[in-house]
């Protein structure tokens, strides 16, 4: 079981309130991702749930019982830190066994659980090495191993992949997702990378300055962002925002259109502009288009085979059905 509820939780450091009253429910077995720009309070929120920081006011409930004043070790949560926080002087085996030794389990049970975790995470060959002798990805797995042997009610991940290189990151992303499928335990995952959020989450919580901007499944956030911030944050490359007369045509203050929802043509279209930079990724090509008279830059996604060069004049046509409309406060107009 691992149902976590935050009820009007706030956090202040001195006079500065970093988290204004906040309510959130995380269902049992859900993979929830906290995402937002750096400094938005997502790590603080995770540390509040873990108990590493005290909340200023409000309640935290885990499985229906109030956990606000319960020390971190007794909350039944396991955390994977950004720096992995492995104990450098202990072997991998001892690192993984540490929480079990602290819980005073008998040696046979400790061995059984450590071997189990090691085989799940492909660490069996490394059990007698020190963390210093492992690669970044292996250290990451040891940190996860140390978390799973405790059989916690929920896992907390604090930007666990940010120290890995791009290829490893994709691999570990899959491993964590598979682990979640297998264990079916609640997981809370903090990241600033919206790609990680979109690919892994059952539920995404978008935060800005300690305030929850929107909660929803990845596709809900992509299709119906509640406001301009979420619209700009979710999706890569970023959504294009257009103000002025063009927006007024759709009776909105601002309209947003994603790069993948604009068609490119050499000859005709609704808008026209000059290509400044074209990024060829092979599968796709991104054009950064200037001089459209709509916004500074319009980003457009086209097929990998389409090739325009710097200085070419091209024509753009947005898909009318997926234009997002926002009012003067940046809120979505349905």
């Amino acid at each position: 079981m691992g149902r976590i509820q935050l009820k009007s939780v706030t956090k202040s450091f001195g006079d500065v309130q970093v988290i204004p009253p906040l309510d959130l429910t995380i269902q049992d077995g859900e993979f929830t991702v906290f995402v937002g720009p750096s400094g938005c309070g997502k790590s603080t929120l995770l540390r509040l749930i873990a108990g590493l920081e005290d909340i200023t006011s409000g309640h935290i409930e885990i499985d229906g019982s109030v956990a606000t004043d319960v020390p971190p070790a007794k909350r039944g949560l396991a955390m994977v830190f950004q720096s992995y926080a492995l104990y450098p002087h202990m072997s991998v085996r001892k690192n993984i066994a540490f929480p079990l030794r602290m819980a005073k389990l008998d040696q046979a049970e400790i061995d059984r659980r450590v071997e189990g975790a090691a085989s799940v995470l492909n660490l069996a060959d490394y059990l007698d090495r020190r963390p210093g002798q492992l690669s970044g990805g292996q250290r990451q797995r040891v940190a996860i191993g140390r978390a799973i042997v405790r059989e916690p009610a929920a896992f907390l991940f604090d930007e666990p992949l940010s120290n890995l290189d791009a290829a490893l990151r994709v691999g570990m992303r899959l491993e964590i997702s598979e682990l979640h499928e297998r264990l079916a335990t609640t997981m809370i995952y903090v990241t600033h990378d919206q790609v990680e959020a979109m690919t892994m989450a059952d539920k995404i919580v978008v935060l800005q300055a300690g305030v929850i901007e929107q909660v929803g499944t990845p596709l809900e956030l992509y299709r119906t962002p509640r406001n301009q911030f979420v619209a700009g944050f979710i999706g890569s490359p970023k959504m294009n925002f257009i103000e002025g007369p063009e927006a007024a045509k759709h009776s909105a203050h601002i309209i947003g259109i994603r790069p993948e929802h604009i068609a490119v043509s050499e000859t005709d279209g609704d808008w026209s502009g000059v290509v400044s930079v074209s990024e060829h990724l092979g599968s796709d090509t991104f054009f950064h288009v200037h001089e459209t008279g709509l916004a500074d830059t319009i980003t457009v996604r086209a097929d990998g085979e389409v090739s325009f060069r710097h200085g070419d004049r091209i024509h753009l046509t947005p898909r009318k059905d997926v234009i997002h409309r926002f009012d003067a406060q940046g809120l979505r107009i349905e």
């Binding site: 590493l52 070790a73 720096s83 104990y87 540490f98 602290m102």
Partner: protein
Amino acid sequence: MATQHSRSVARLMMAPAVVLLLGWMLVPLTMTLYFSFKKYLPLRGGDLGWVGFDNYVRFVSSSSFWPAVQATLVIVGGVLVITVVLGILLAMLLDQPMWGQGVVRILVIAPFFVMPTVSALVWKNMFMDPVNGLLAHLWRFFGAEPISWLSEASMTSIIMIVSWQWLPFATLILLTAIQSLDSEQLEAAEMDGAPPLKRFYHIILPHLGRAITIVILIQTIFLLSIFAEIFVTTGGAFGTRTLTYLIFQRVLESQNVGLGSAGGVYAIILANIVAIFLMRIVGKNLDA
């Protein structure tokens, strides 16, 4: 960048310093070795010729040799235990965020800047004096008979004085080591269910391991040669004659330069054994 030419110029420029340092070290060392094989009594006939290993045998077989070795070990060991244990506690205390942290840290380091002779005199006259010392007043305040520290508890007194001098050094090294500990490791241990004492034992202490070895080895080298603290307090009496002090007495009080030099060579060998261990550990630290 470094061409043949610039390298030879560099060697030429370094030569004076190297020659000076080498001479500085080699001349006294050679003279000590030279005298240790001679019977040399400046006030009783001067140079009386070569005697082979006679001085070495006499120094070791003297009745004051083993007591001196024991006194040395007790002082070095006692000071090491006190400075390391208190050093760890003080370092953890100073690592806590507190008001006036900068000033407190400077105050803690201050004893290290006091000359050994001065600090020994201050302790002797202002703290340990059986009539007017602060400790005597304290004892009398509680109705106890003051202790004449330097004669009744001579060893304890000297260990106290030397520990007071070396505690700042240990604290400083251990504080920097504690500050380099990743706070996420402590938080991870907290989440793993380790209470504060176990966090200290399983996380902080192993992290300090290398720093503690370095403190022990550096201090050992310096503590083996403490002299001023003994000279101005007990003058080697009441069982406080260390190996260093014995050598001093052989050369200056008994005016037997040969015998003292032989003792000096023993001291050099002892210090070098410690130094080899120190360099290995420091070297390993620099590699890691």
